[in-house]
Amino acid sequence: MAQVSMTVNGKAVKRSVPDTTLLSEFLREHLRLTGTHVGCDTSQCGACVVHVDGRAVKSCTMLAAGADGASVVTIEGLAKDGALHPMQTAFNDNHGLQCGFCTPGMIMSGVDMVARYKAEGRELTEAAIRHELEGNICRCTGYHNIVKSIQDAAARM
């Protein structure tokens, strides 16, 4: 068993879990934060994307023990004091989701890419957004409104 301590959505958590526990499993089953989804087993669909120490990672491809000491933000932690994050608002405004299953990962990846491009002073073009979404698969939207949502949020963030 691994003793795991981390900050999740601003709160300190501590659990003893099997060494094989994935971060996605830790969030979903141990903390019952079920907004992080698992849609594949080959690290490609991106439904499980969360932020670890400020960077988007696939929580299905990281051990909980490996995140010991880290600060983790999940989809549940994105809204602050009841106010939705601009990326969340943009997905609602632009119909960026249908079944909602890939959405948490899309939003977490969207927030990450906008933050990176802004920090590096690069322009987040449509082509860049589409390229940045390589690791997030959606089956419902045809991506049209996801790209629009991220464009919209980038202008608001």
Binding site: A2, T42, S43, Q44, V52, R55, K58, G66, M113, G135
Partner: protein, 264 residues
């Protein structure tokens, strides 16, 4: 996944001891290949030795004009590193195209080079740039390092600590991605180095990354995209799978070589 014991050693020496003590142990660098493999029950290491946060394992130095990239440096950090961008922009470009953003935040150069996946990007750069694989025991020249698909010169208990790259005069990388996995179906890294023009091909070889002597000779004579046109690229020894037959891969090697030279 099968039961395993996770370790987070504080030093390379401690990591080496852990690896040495457990013959079925594996180094966990970024885990972006190893963990999915374990999830599918295709690997069952007794122990995982996480080297990602060992002090000094991550980061890039350009001391003496030579790039030393820590083994635990994430792809995203190589891609945006100012020294890499200055001295070997083709390497930064390659790193920026590995996997997807989330994978690039976790996956590491050392992990990729140690695994030597036949469809991975980094092996082509290491081989074409004539880079040095630095381990806890020795330094291995690229030409002596890659031994075939998923096989390297690494011995039991040997841990990559850094990749050392002497900046090339010019270099370029072009990848044709597998439409499904987005791994390299064919990736060609061309470099004009102090020891001549080197061309390494990943994704295509049935024995993993390899140098293409015909392309090297042609580009040594003229480092231009057109020079590639006269090179006959054999399909012999190339992979054939549901995504691409060997002859198509052979054709793509030529196309990617041209594009890599043009990008250099």
């Amino acid at each position: 996944m099968y039961a395993t014991t996770y370790h987070r050693p504080g030093s390379v020496a401690e990591a080496a001891t852990l690896i040495g003590a457990n013959p079925e142990a594996k180094v966990l660098a970024g885990g972006q290949t190893l963990l999915p493999t374990m999830k599918q029950h295709l690997a069952a290491p007794s122990d995982l030795v996480d080297i990602r946060r060992i002090p000094g394992m991550a980061g890039v130095s350009a001391a003496g004009g030579v790039l030393t990239i820590g083994a635990a440096t994430a792809h995203a950090d190589v891609a945006r590193n100012a020294d890499v961008l200055r001295h070997a922009p083709a390497l930064a470009c390659l790193a920026a195209g590995i996997g997807d953003p989330a994978v690039r935040h976790m996956g590491t150069i050392g992990g990729s080079v140690a695994n030597n996946d036949p469809a991975a990007d980094y092996p082509s750069a290491v081989l074409a740039l004539n880079a040095t694989v630095v381990t806890n025991r020795r330094e291995i020249a690229a030409d002596a390092y890659f031994k075939g698909m998923f096989t390297t010169a690494l011995e039991e208990g040997e841990i990559i600590t850094a990749i050392r790259v002497t900046p090339p005069k010019r270099a370029g990388y072009a990848k044709f991605a597998n439409p499904a996995s987005r791994y390299a179906l064919v990736g060609v890294f061309v470099a004009e180095t102090a020891s001549g023009v080197r061309v390494a091909v990943t994704g295509a070889g049935a024995n993993g990354v390899f140098r293409h002597k015909g392309l090297e000779a042609a580009l040594a004579a003229s480092f231009t995209p057109e020079a590639v046109d006269g090179v006959k690229i054999s399909a012999e020894g190339l992979l054939s799978d549901i995504h691409a037959a060997a002859d198509y891969r052979a054709h793509l090697i030529g196309v990617m070589a041209r594009r890599a030279v043009a990008a250099a």
